[in-house]
Point group: C2
Chain length 464, copies 2
C-alpha cells in the first residue's frame, strides 16, 4: 500500500492524498446503522476528472479497490469503505458549470450539494425537484449514485428522472460520456440510467447534466389526523384513485409524532395514530385540490383536518416532517443511553392500495419482535420508512431488530412491493435484492457488473 500512496501523491500532489488515521477513520461509513465498514488505506480528494482517472488507474495497477463517497449521508452502507481501499471523496469537485434556462438544464460536478444547486437554479426562476431528506448536505453525485427520492416524488419523480447525461470514469480509467443535453434522445442503450442508482459499482460519476423545471407555483398545505394508521393508508389510496396528484403526501405515525414533539414542541397531536401531511402546488387551483383531498381524508376516517392558513404555518408543518430523522435518533439515544441507542432505518415501497396492510403489518411486527418501530414516509408513493430502535450494545436487541427488519422486507414483498423505494441496496439490502430480483435478474446484473468492472475493484460488495 505505501507504494500506491506514494504513486498517488506523486501524481496528484500531497494535498489531495490523505492518510491521517483520524481522517481515514472518519471516512469509514455512511449513515446506515448495522452495516459492516472497513478502514481505507487512503482518501483521495480529486478536483478534476483527470484526478479520478489517475486514481482509478493507479488503484487498478495495484489491485486495490476504489470506493467513491459523497457526503456519506446514505442509509444503506453503499459508501462504506472496505479495508485497504482508496476512498475517492468527491466533495471538492463542487463546481456548477452551467445553468441554461432556455434548455432547462444544469451541468455540474458531483460534489455540488443538493441545496446549493436548488438555490442556484432558483435564481434563474428554475427548480431542481429531487429533495431527499438529506438535501441540505447530500451531494448530487451521491443522489445520482443512489437514485435518491424525497418528498417531491409523488408528483415530480425521483433523481433518475432528472439526469440527462453523465461523465463517468470507468474501471479501465476510460472516460465515458452518456446521454445528451437535449430534451429527447434515444441514441443507443440508456447508459445514463444504468449508472444512476448503481452506487459506484460500475464507474465513478464526474459530471452530471440535470434537467430543471420552472419554479413551482404557490402551494398550500393541510394536515389530517387519524386514529388508525390503516385509515390514513386508505385515504392515500382514495386520493390516488380519484386522480389527485398532491405535490407532497407524507405520513407520520404516533411514534414519530411523539418523538418530534419531544425533540421540538410544535403542537403536534401526539394522541393521534397517524398524521397525513398533504400539499398542492397548483397555484390558483391548489385550494380546490386540497379541498378534495380534505374531503377524501374525512371520508376515510380522519378525526380532524386543518389547512395551514399561511406560508409560515405550512413551512412549520414541513419542518416538523423534516425533523423526523433527528427526533427518532434522539428517541433511540434516550431509550438506550451511553451512545448505544441506534436506528435501523428501513425503506420499503408497496402499491398504494396496500399501504394500510403495510402499516398494520409493521405494527404487528413491532409487537411480535418486541422492538419499538416508528413509521414515517412518502405515503403518496407507498414508500415508507419503518425505523427500528435498537440497543447496539445488546446482541439480543440487535437480533430482534434484525428479525423485525427481515419481517418487514418479507411483508413488503408479499404485498407486491420492493425492498427499497429510495435508499438503495448498498450492503443493507443485498440479500433482499437477490430475493426480489431472483436468480435470472441477479445473473443479468452480475453479467453487467463483470462486463464493466472485470476485476471487481469498483465499490466491491455493494449492490450485488
Amino acid at each position: 500500500m505505501p507504494d500506491l500512496i506514494e504513486d498517488l501523491r506523486a501524481a496528484l500532489g500531497a494535498a489531495a492524498v490523505l492518510s491521517d488515521p483520524d481522517l481515514l477513520a472518519g471516512h469509514r461509513r455512511d449513515e446506515a446503522d448495522l452495516c459492516p465498514a472497513g478502514t481505507p488505506a487512503v482518501v483521495v480528494r480529486p478536483r478534476h476528472t483527470d484526478d479520478v482517472v489517475t486514481t482509478v488507474r493507479l488503484a487498478a495497477r495495484h489491485g486495490v479497490p476504489v470506493v467513491p463517497q459523497g457526503a456519506r449521508t446514505g442509509l444503506a452502507g453503499a459508501a462504506n469503505a472496505v479495508d485497504g481501499a482508496v476512498v475517492l471523496s468527491m466533495t471538492s469537485m463542487d463546481e456548477i458549470r452551467r445553468i441554461d434556462p432556455v434548455n432547462r438544464i444544469a451541468v455540474l460536478q458531483p460534489g455540488v450539494v443538493n441545496a446549493t444547486l436548488a438555490a442556484a437554479v432558483s435564481r434563474h426562476g428554475l427548480r431542481y425537484p429531487p429533495d431527499p431528506g438529506s438535501w441540505e448536505s447530500s451531494t448530487i453525485g451521491g443522489n445520482v449514485a443512489t437514485n435518491a427520492g424525497g418528498m417531491c416524488c409523488v408528483k415530480y419523480g425521483v433523481t433518475g428522472e432528472y439526469v440527462l447525461g453523465l461523465e463517468v470514469v470507468l474501471a479501465s480509467g476510460e472516460v465515458l460520456r452518456t446521454g445528451r443535453q437535449t430534451a429527447k434522445g434515444v441514441a443507443g442503450y440508456d447508459l445514463t440510467r444504468l449508472f444512476v442508482g448503481s452506487e459506484g459499482t460500475l464507474g465513478v460519476i464526474t459530471e452530471i447534466t440535470v434537467a430543471l423545471r420552472p419554479a413551482a407555483e404557490e402551494s398550500l398545505t393541510l394536515v389530517a389526523v387519524f386514529d388508525s394508521a390503516a385509515a390514513a393508508g386508505d385515504a392515500v389510496a382514495e386520493i390516488s384513485g380519484q386522480g389527485l396528484t398532491p405535490s407532497l403526501l407524507e405520513l407520520l405515525d404516533r411514534v414519530h409524532l411523539r418523538a418530534i414533539e419531544a425533540y421540538r414542541p410544535m403542537g403536534l397531536r401526539t394522541d393521534a395514530s397517524a398524521l397525513l401531511l398533504a400539499a398542492a402546488d397548483t397555484g390558483a387551483r391548489a385550494a380546490g385540490d386540497l379541498d378534495r383531498i380534505a374531503k377524501l381524508c374525512a371520508a376515510a376516517g380522519a378525526t380532524e383536518v386543518f389547512a395551514a392558513t399561511d406560508p409560515v404555518e405550512a413551512t412549520a408543518l414541513l419542518q416538523a416532517r423534516r425533523l423526523a430523522h433527528p427526533a427518532m435518533e434522539r428517541l433511540a439515544a434516550q431509550t438506550y443511553p451511553d451512545g448505544n441507542g441506534g436506528l435501523v432505518i428501513d425503506d420499503v415501497a408497496v402499491p398504494r392500495d396496500r399501504l394500510a396492510d403495510l402499516l398494520d403489518g409493521v405494527d404487528r411486527i413491532a409487537v411480535e419482535h418486541e422492538v419499538p418501530i416508528g413509521v414515517v414516509g412518502h405515503a403518496g408513493d407507498g414508500n415508507m420508512h419503518p425505523n427500528i430502535v435498537v440497543d447496539r450494545a445488546d446482541p439480543a436487541s440487535l437480533d430482534r431488530g434484525r428479525h423485525a427488519f427481515d419481517a418487514i422486507m418479507e411483508l413488503g414483498l408479499s404485498l407486491g412491493g420492493t425492498c427499497t423505494g429510495e435508499h438503495g441496496v448498498g450492503l443493507l439490502k443485498r440479500d433482499w435484492l437477490a430475493r426480489e430480483a431472483g436468480p435470472v435478474g441477479m445473473r443479468v446484473q452480475r453479467a453487467i457488473k463483470d462486463a464493466l468492472d472485470p476485476a471487481g475493484l469498483l465499490n466491491p460488495g455493494k449492490v450485488l
Copy 2:
C-alpha cells in the same frame, strides 16, 4: 432451416409457425426507407411467453437469428428481417391484463396497440400519454423497444418514462422480470431502462407494466404563422425560457403546409414559412398560458396568431399535423411517379435554443444538395424530422438524399444535438450512433450486448 421450422411446428403448432413466401416477404421490413432488409425463413406468432421461450431456445440451438417485430411502423429499420432469420411477430400477444386506477398502472402484453391501450385506460379516467405518430397502429411493445416519442413529450415525456417493469425473454431463453409495480423502487441496476430502447437486441419483451396518469384536463390550442422558420424557432426558445410548458408545441414548415393542404384542403396558410401549433391542457388556466405563448410568438415575429375557438377547430388543427406523414408520402409519390418517390425521414434533436440554427441549416442543405426537404416535428423538444424526398429509381437522387441526410446529422451534432430524438438507431443511424457515442461509449454498449447475447442472435446488426 427445414429442421428448425419442423421443430418450431412440433413445439408451437402449425398455426403459429408460418413460412408462406408472400407472408415472409411481408415481414421483411418496417417503414424506414433506404434500409437493407432480408427475407426471414419463418414467421412465428407467439401467444404466450412460453412460446417466445421455445422459439428463442430452438433458434439458438440451430444458430439462427431472431428478429422481434411489432406493427413494423418503425422508421429506422430496427424491425427489418435478416435473411434466414426467425421473425417473432408479437402482434397476437395483445392482452391487456390489468388496469389499476389506484396504483395508476396497467399490465399488458407487447402486442397491444397504443390506441387500444389509450382507449381502455380512458374508460377508467386515466391516460397513457406517449403518442407516437403511429399510435393508431403501433404496438406498445414496439414503442418500448424503440423508446418512442410523440407530440405529448414536451410536457409528458417519452415512452421510457412510463415503463415501470418488463418481462423479457433473454437470448438464453431465460425469463427475466425487471422493475416493479410500485411508484418508486431502486432495487439494483435499472434493467428496465436498459431494455427500453434496445430495439430487440438484448431480449424479447413479453410483458410490460406501464404507469398511467389521470386524464388530461380540458385543452386549448393556438396557431402562430411565421414568415421565417428561424423566427418560429426563436419563439420556441422564448416559450421555454419564460418557464412555460405547453402540452404540445409542433412546427410545420412551408413544404409540409403545402403538402398537407394538397393532400386534404384544410385552409392552412400555404404562403407561410412556418406554423407553430401550441396547446395547453391546464384546464381553467389554459387560456392564460396560451395567451402568454401567443404574445411570445408575436414578439418573435409571428405575422398572425389565432386561437382555436372550439374543440372541433382544435381537433382539426391536430389532425392537420397528424397528416404530415401521409401528405409527404404523397408529395414524394407525385414528385417521382411510378412508385419511385420515397422519403428519407430523418430525426434529430438539438437544444431548444439551437432550433433556429437547425432550421436555417436544413434549408441551406436542401439547396446545396438539390433535394426537396420538408421539416416537421416536436419543436418544443427541439426534436425535428427533416423529410428528404428522393427518387428511389435514380441513384443520383438517392446519393444526393444520403448526402443531405448526413449533412443534417453532422449539423445536429455540431449544434450539441443527438442523431435521434425518438425514432431510434436501427440500421439507419448506426454510423451516427458510433460518432455520437464515441469509442468508449460504443465499447461499453458492445460489452453489454456481448454479456446478454454472447452468440449475437438477437436482432443482429441493429443499434451497434
